[in-house]
């Protein structure tokens, strides 16, 4: 079960993040998770939103460079050692994590949510289910 992530190419210059987030806000799109990977000249803003298709259109209409990637959103217990356990579930099946970041989604107070980009979504899904983990679907992001 995967979730659509938007990746937006952002030049390193003042005002870019402000402009992009304003676009999403004006279109009433809620950001559920985000991270920025940065280099000297540019960054990639990664976003999980409640309505990916709408966000894609809004950003593209404004000339942004956007691409969609399928990622996993994993719910784990909010306690010491639980992330290590989840990583181990992936590691034992030899699945690589390319990047991950924390999500804002927090429907239950004793859990935390992570966005995971792995080298093989299907293998990772099976590995996580087998270890008893819960993956969130697109319509659980609202």
């Amino acid at each position: 079960m995967t979730v659509k992530q938007l990746s937006v190419f952002v030049e390193n210059r003042p005002g870019r993040l402000s402009a992009i987030t304003r676009l999403l806000g004006d279109a009433n799109i809620n950001i559920r998770a985000m991270s920025i990977a940065d280099t000297k000249d540019f960054g990639i803003l990664r976003l999980i939103v409640d309505d990916a298709e709408k966000a894609l259109k809004v950003l593209k209409d404004e000339g942004c460079s956007v691409t969609i990637t399928n990622v996993l959103v994993l719910r784990i217990d909010d306690r010491p050692g639980s992330l290590a356990q989840a990583m181990n579930a992936l590691y034992k099946d030899n699945i690589s994590v390319e990047y991950m970041y924390a999500a804002f989604i927090n429907t239950e107070s004793n859990t935390a949510c992570l966005v995971l980009r792995v080298d093989d979504n299907d293998k990772a899904t099976v590995a996580l289910y087998d270890s008893g983990y819960k993956l969130l679907s697109q319509n659980e992001l609202g």
């Binding site: 990746s7 190419f9 030049e11 990977a37 990639i44 000339g63 691409t67 990637t69």
Partner: protein, 436 residues
């Protein structure tokens, strides 16, 4: 040794010079017509026969030659001497990555080194001097051109070639070089490195430097003279004509004397091709009248320039050209390397379905040209991982480096962020101040 290398040529009267030019021109045109089918076709198309060219006044009847002709006849199609008699080849890069090739017979090399010897003598060099050559040796005409000229003068040549700046400074100091030749920006870089190494201008013995292969200003001249404690002299040349030494500066340092006994200059209107009177600004055109292997006729240099035949205080009567003020095409000279925006376009096109918008930004920082190409990120390059984008960036850099012969800094920018303009896009931002 006197003040001139070849006084009879450098100080000839106008009548003598015109008579010699007319004689050599006729001879060259006859030989070229007989030996080079490409020129024969060009002349036949223009309705000109060799016998129509009786003096320099008839020069305008001949058709122009341009860089495209050199490419069309690559590699040896314009050679007017048998390859058996050619003892040297040189080459320079062209717009589409295809280089142009020129050849020299023994006599051509002798003529070329005579021109360079005139330049060196005008800068004050004698056989007692040491010439430190920091131009690259190779297909580029700078290194070997200055080398042969200095050897002819009898100077002690030090063929250092380019690179390894600290070693260059050690050699300058230890070998007691009194002359140096390199690009003007490298001269300033040397001065800076000297400072870092704690070497002062009194530790070196430079009297003069011969600087060329790129545009430079009077302000750079002052800076070089001040920092290296030597005279900074300009030299002009291009591979198609012979290399450095087509024109050179005398002690007056206001304009370069053209070795017109070998290369007849003209100034034309770049749009109509009409010859303009002396003193007008226009495109500089050269005809080689004393070469065997590669005697190019009415070659359009694309340099915008002014010719002046005035009495020079140095005593030379050779016509003078002012420092070229610009070019008629969009060629850039970056760190001594010729770069055409069209080359960049074709490389970008080869990497994707459509060539993305791009902009070239050239600047000069710490006396070295900086070369950045801003490229609007093409759709197919976008990825959610930095690594993928950086790999693409490296691929673009490498492709451009191998085509241009110089490494640009690639800066990816957002789509539609580069300025669009009606008609021709503004592709080049040159922040260097190369014209006074």
């Amino acid at each position: 040794m006197g003040k001139y290398w070849n006084e009879s040529m450098e100080c000839a009267t106008l009548d003598e010079m015109r008579a010699l030019q007319s004689f050599r021109l006729q001879k060259t045109v006859k030989r070229v017509y007989a030996n080079v089918p490409y020129y024969r076709d060009m002349m036949d198309k223009a309705g000109v026969k060799p016998e129509d060219i009786r003096s320099v006044d008839d020069l305008h009847l001949l058709p122009f030659t341009c860089k495209q002709d050199l490419r069309d006849t690559y590699p040896y199609g314009l050679f007017a001497a048998p390859l058996d008699d050619v003892v040297r080849l040189h080459a320079s890069s062209g717009t589409t990555g295809k280089q142009i090739v020129v050849g020299y017979t023994r006599k051509d090399l002798d003529m070329w080194s005579d021109c360079v010897a005139r330049a060196l003598t005008a800068a004050g060099a004698t056989k007692s001097d040491f010439m430190h050559i920091s131009y690259g040796y190779g297909l580029f005409t700078g290194g070997l051109g200055l080398h042969d000229g200095a050897t002819k003068v009898g100077m002690t040549t030090i063929p250092v070639s380019s690179g390894n700046t600290k070693r260059q400074i050690t050699i300058l100091k230890d070998f007691g070089s009194t002359f140096i030749c390199c690009t003007p920006s490298y001269a300033l870089y040397l001065a800076e490195t000297m400072k870092e190494m704690g070497v002062s201008k009194s530790d070196i013995k430079l009297k003069a430097g011969i600087f060329g292969a790129e545009a430079w200003t009077e302000q750079m001249r002052k800076e070089i003279e001040d920092k290296l404690g030597c005279k900074a002299m300009d030299i002009y040349g291009l591979t198609e004509i012979t290399g450095p030494g087509v024109a050179f500066e005398c002690e007056c340092q206001n304009g370069m004397h053209i070795n017109e006994d070998n290369f007849i200059p003209e100034i034309i209107d770049p749009d109509t091709g009409e010859v303009l009177p002396e003193g007008s600004e226009g495109e500089l055109v050269f005809t080689c009248i004393n070469k065997e292997a590669f005697p190019i006729l009415r070659y359009r240099t694309k340099d915008i320039c002014v010719l002046e035949r005035e009495k020079c205080a140095c005593g030379r009567t050779l016509i003078k050209m002012r420092k070229p003020r610009g070019r008629t095409d969009d060629m850039l000279i970056i760190r001594g390397v010729n770069v055409f925006p069209s080359q960049i376009e074709s490389v970008l096109l080869s990497l994707g379905d459509t060539a993305p918008y791009y902009q070239i930004v050239v600047d000069r920082k710490n006396n070295t040209d900086t070369f950045e190409i801003q490229v609007e990120l093409p759709e197919h390059m976008l990825s959610d991982t930095i690594k993928t984008i950086e790999d693409m960036e490296a691929k673009i850099t490498e492709a451009l480096h191998s085509t241009l012969g110089i490494q640009p800094k690639i800066r990816l920018v957002e789509p539609k962020s580069l300025p669009r303009s009606e008609g021709k896009a503004v592709r080049v931002i040159d922040k260097r101040k190369l014209v006074d």
